[in-house]
Amino acid sequence: DVLASPSGINALLIGAYAALDGQNVGNGTPWGSSVSNWIWGSVMGTDASKGSYAGDQQGMNEIFNYQSSTSNSFFEDKWKADYEGISRCNNVLKVLPQITTMSTADTTNIAAQAKFLRAHYYFDLKKMFNMVPWIDETTTDYNQPNNTDVWPNIEADFSYAYDNLPETQSEAGRANKWAAGAYLGKAYLYQGKYADAKTIFDNIIANGKTSLGVKYDLFTNFEDNWRPEDEATSPEAVFPVEMTANAGSFDNANYGDMLNFPYGNSPFGCCGFYQPRQDLVNSYRTDANGLPYLDTYNDHAVKSDMGIGSGQPFTPDAGNLDPRLDWTAGRRGLPFNDWGIHPGADWIRDQAYAGPYANKKNIYWQVTPQFHDGSSWAPGSAINYLVIRFSDVLLMAAECHAQTDDLAGAQALVNKVRNRAANKSGWLYKYKDDSDPTGGFSTTPAANYVISPYPAGYFSNKDIALKAIYFERKLELAMEGHRFFDLVRWGIAESTINAFLTYQKPFSADIATASKFVAPKNNYFPIPQNEIDITTVNGEKTLTQNPGY
């Protein structure tokens, strides 16, 4: 076997990493399989609308209207991309024992990276579909049933990686011990094993570092997480998926998120997808003390330019806001990175359909054109997608502390995240000159930012603590593909999403006829019908459909 050599096995391992972005690996649409899970985590989790236009990517419509049929091909896009990733990990593990010329340390490192990646792909499948078949390097018959929970396998792979990966790696993109630890902790958390998770998270917070040896910490500025120039020195990137611009292949340039840029006469051109919801924007409202309205945020709605043409006057909301809002949602009248003042409707494809806001976390900057890939009809960028970043670890740890009744510890962790947001250097400021957006920012905040940490003793009981932690995750990690899966594991998806629908439906045509979210059915997506059909052996189905479908 020509690949049974140190360089060959490394190339197979690189192939396993290359499947992370979900692009050109499963033959489906780029969007369904995107590593960012923007449809599955964020659109389904009420962060955002599909955006764009009713007739565009119609296949998504029935999904976020909670009416999907099992044959919708977007599900299979995800399924196939993850299993292709798994297949590549298995290739590494299959060929590895044939190599005799490599040191034990190197062999173990490679096996551990492969298992780490495999566990990542299974984790993604697990949270999407719940019951999925387990395929490993020993599998020869791929018609495997989905009748066994794969959590133990995921834990085993992550544990192996956590126990065997080195603390640092030669290259930034390789997973290290601490990334594996964070993911293992996350796997425990998803299963409610809070004590196990807490032990790991505490160790990571105390000792963790990136693959390049930078001690884990929060970036000084929230927005630095989406600046390619800062990626190498990032203390916050626990597990990044490396993206490139202009490297000869658009597939590596956030292809799966290429639709998610402002439309119209914006400098991006396409395609107006992935628009933050009013419900999300309202969540950033803060009270006089700089704290969020955990239950009543929609009673304090942020003023929007819905129904107001770009030519008509509009003054942005003047109330108290969490500064993270304006690095999360592009709003009319505020600087949109260094691309100019967001003009509202002119950059929106169909306000009546999907609202007035623009996605912001994947927007590249005009002053760094090297991170923009213009080789396709919609933009690409080199902005990494962070599967786990350190503030996520802090908030997961906070959850574990709260669940294990260390409320003060939990509050300290949440406040660490809020304190970073409160750091004025990380706020959005008005341009020095609106007509020269690349000329730099002034010292006048772009909106009325008021944010504070929770005062001592605020986490007075577990319920309040958890409510605040859940809400902090919404604010901190919005539009990053996590929310739906959080809601489901917290057991509040049905109540939260139906409340959201009640609020948002009347002014969002895209969900005007949405069905109610029904648990447990809608907690998981259907096993793709085509996969059930093509694994039917002698009339017997190998795969069992999820309940309710």
Binding site: N91, G173, S310, D350
Partner: protein, 1054 residues
Amino acid sequence: KVTSAKDGSPIGFATVTVKGTNVGTSSDADGNFSLTMPAGSTTLVISSVGYATIEVDASSGSVNVVLSESSSSLDEIIVTGYTSQKKKDITGSVSVVNVEEMNKLPTSQINNQLQGQAAGVTVIGSGQPGETPQVRIRGINTFGNNNPLYVVDGVPTGNINDLNPNDVASLQVLKDAGAASIYGSRANNGVIIITTKRGRGKTSVTYDGYYGQQVVKRGNPWNMLNPQENADLTYLAYRNDGLEPTTYYSLYGSGDKPVLPDYIAPAGAKEGDPSVNPDLYYVNPNYTDASELGSFHRIIKANKAGTDWFHEMNKDAPMQSHNVTVSGGSDKNSYLFSFNYLDQQGTVIYTYQKKYAVRVNTQFSIGDRIRVGENLSYTINNNPQITPLTEGGFIGYAMREMPIIPVYDIMGNFAGNYGAALGNAFNPVATAYRTRNDKGLGSRLFGAGYVDVDLIKGLTLHSQFGGEVYSGYYHSFGYPTYENTENTTSNTYYEGSNWGYNWTWTNTLTYHRTFGKHDVQLMAGTEAYYETGENIDAWNRDYFSFDPNYTTLNTGTYASPSVSSGRYYGSLWSPIIARLDYQFNEKYIISGVFRHDGSSKFTPTHKYGNFPAVTVGWRISQEKFMESVKWINELKLRAGWGIMGNQINVFQNNQYATYNGDKGSSFYDIGGTNSSLVQGFKTGQVPNEDTKWEKDINSNIGVDATLFNNKLNFTLDYYQKNIKDLLFNPPLPGTAGNGTAPYVNIAQMHTNGWDGSISYHGNITRDLQFDLGFNLTSYKNEIIKVSNTSDYFFTGDSRRFGNNFIINQVGQPVNEFYGYKVLGYFNTQAEIDALNDAASKATNGEVTTYEQDAGLGRFKYADVNGDGYISDDDRTYIGNPNPDFTYGINIGLTYKAFDFSAFFFGTQGNEIWNNVKYWTDLFPTFVGAKSKTALYDSWTPEHTNASAPMVSSNSYFSTAGVASSWYVQNGSYLRCKYMVLGYTLGANNLGKTGIQSLRVYVQAANLFTITKYAGVDPEINSSAGDDTQSRDFGVDEGSYANPKQFIIGLNVKF
């Protein structure tokens, strides 16, 4: 001398042989011949195409032979696989095409000319010059490539696109196993045998040429709205939704009624607005820095009258063809040289075909026993093509670009949809214009050299070495765009080339003897085939200048330019090819063929396959008891059975496990550089070592008859094909990863049908004669098995729906349309409520709505499974693009020197998925040009008998969201393919000009079409010319329509 019974004119090139020997010659252009009779022979057999063969006694030394025209083609010598036979002796199913009729269609492609000319052959093409049509012999045999095998002068090939139609002497279609199994592993899809012309007689020069104009459809073929109507429709859509349109659409002012703006860039500006001052205008169409795009100040006047994008893209275009043939020969040697120049401009702008073809065919005799010869053609082809039938093509853009957008802005740069919410289609004229400097050239040398040796009496050795050498080259440039909403800001140069060759070496021995009443012909041989080829494609970006003289691969400045290349090779080896034809007393015929074939695509265990066939024939008309039935000249019954093979879909590496990698799918920036990738690998081919031949077990019965004093010819065949071990690559389960699924012998298919032809030749007066011909092709296809694990698979593109709508399902024909069946519209709320109540009752309250998004004026789908409500399970078969039958009608009339002929082609019972409606008749399917149907014939409470659902700005499950039968339309049509009126001047009238004959003609092609299909052209080729085409056809998303052609032509013979 050989003359015609009709008018006494000499018959050139008649074949004259001495009966029972190989000695023969042919008549010259004046009908004269001479040959030396072997001792003991006195009888000559004289035959010529179109005349009845006769035997004459030549013992007197000089004979005048008068041949009667034979409308019976039964005496023609037909080249079949590796041998030739008289048609009356053929027991397999063979269609003989009238080449003269076929050549009347003005096109560069023989395949296009074949349409409707042969029973059993279905051809569907398009109006694009040089585009390969879909050719099916007896329907569909496999899920992959269904293209027939072509055998040109004995050389098998897959491609006759560049063969000069004027060079064809005869064309036969081998349809059943009895005829085609001799080609073994490549016979499954049928075989088309083409023989090119040879020289005979005195040196002659002929010129055939025509010049004509291709005329596109006039009027408003897409039935489009004008800009004001489009604006009205927009307002109607929002108002139907209860929304105030001006809130969401600012271009048309703020009034109650939409008012067209004077300018669309700056959006909505009025005349006199300071922003439309031309001094502010700035557009640099050749910008190289993406950031410059932001500084452009575009000024585009609204085209209030409306841009006719159909006719901006489709223009009348000229075409011409000139062909010169020089030929001559004696009974010993012959030569033919031909040159053809074809220049066909496409009716879609910037498409064309320019083709140069030369041919040299020669044969020389060495002594009495040895003949050597060659047939060679060399073709140079310059043929830029576009991809029709796709949303993102030239034609797709043209049907979606809004009419308020002019072609050009105020300074003559391109206008587009930038900035004014005018949709996302690209300016199609700009898109086409940007291809103007793209160049490509293909060339091919095709042919063979051979030697025939008469070993002993009746035994001939034939050895032939032939094949092709081809190469191609192209370069193209991707310009940055500036006029669109969705602009490409980079500039890219592409360049690539390919070359390859293949050869076939054939050796056969043929033995033909007559022993009393027994006639025996035996053929045995071997054949070897080898093919190889390579290609390279490269691109670079970031050019300082876009001057075509400057842009090369090395003048781009991109950091990671790309080069990719590949190669392939493969071989076939056939140690045994054998054929036996036996006749008793010219009454009973039995014929058997056998071929043993090996392919490098299979593992040694499965390398070889056996392909036998047996046919029998009974010439009833030769029986004593038929002698009294005078009106029957010839009556033959035929039957046959055999196995044909197929392996064309399998790739060489099917049997091997491979790893591969490329930047897009398996390279990764492991170092976090943001700009460079490290090589990685993934699973390539998933192997299957058990793959073997696909087998088509084929049976055929047929009858041939010639009646009423040879005036009526009649042939009818019924066939059945059982395709076993059908090679298919069923999709692997996702759990297996995304490697290339191997072809396995898993599927099964059944196809049966009828094909037949009838022709009649008659005289009304001595001067007025007529010919009528009719042929018919039908096939009925049923999938028996798809794979071990699934009984269906989807193919094609899901277009803009969430599900694919082309299904291949067991029990159904291939490529069937699949989706929800539309019963009508929901016309009243009471109707919806009643259905919802019924759904609740049927499901005990579990389901409370009959249909998702049910609403007034939306589609009511059929509850196919009867569970009371609409779900995924209610999708059903809603249309079949396979025709019930196709047919051709030939009409010929001659009156003195005038000739008139007309040819009609029709297809019946097929359905078309009219995806154009998706774009033009539904409002929410992207902002774009919409049709009059949407505005004037959509559902309203007062107009419930509507052609489209209620106009809405939203897309619903119950409207545009899913694939439904609303898109399916009757695709039957009858088309007048051509009408020709010619006038011939014979040598008598031409005096001493040296011209022997001269014919001028006028012709109209595609003159009219009778169809109910609402689209531009009911003839829909498959969208891709690749091997999946048989699984994805009949979908119209903007076709390259067949234009009318008006031609004047000249045939001169010197």
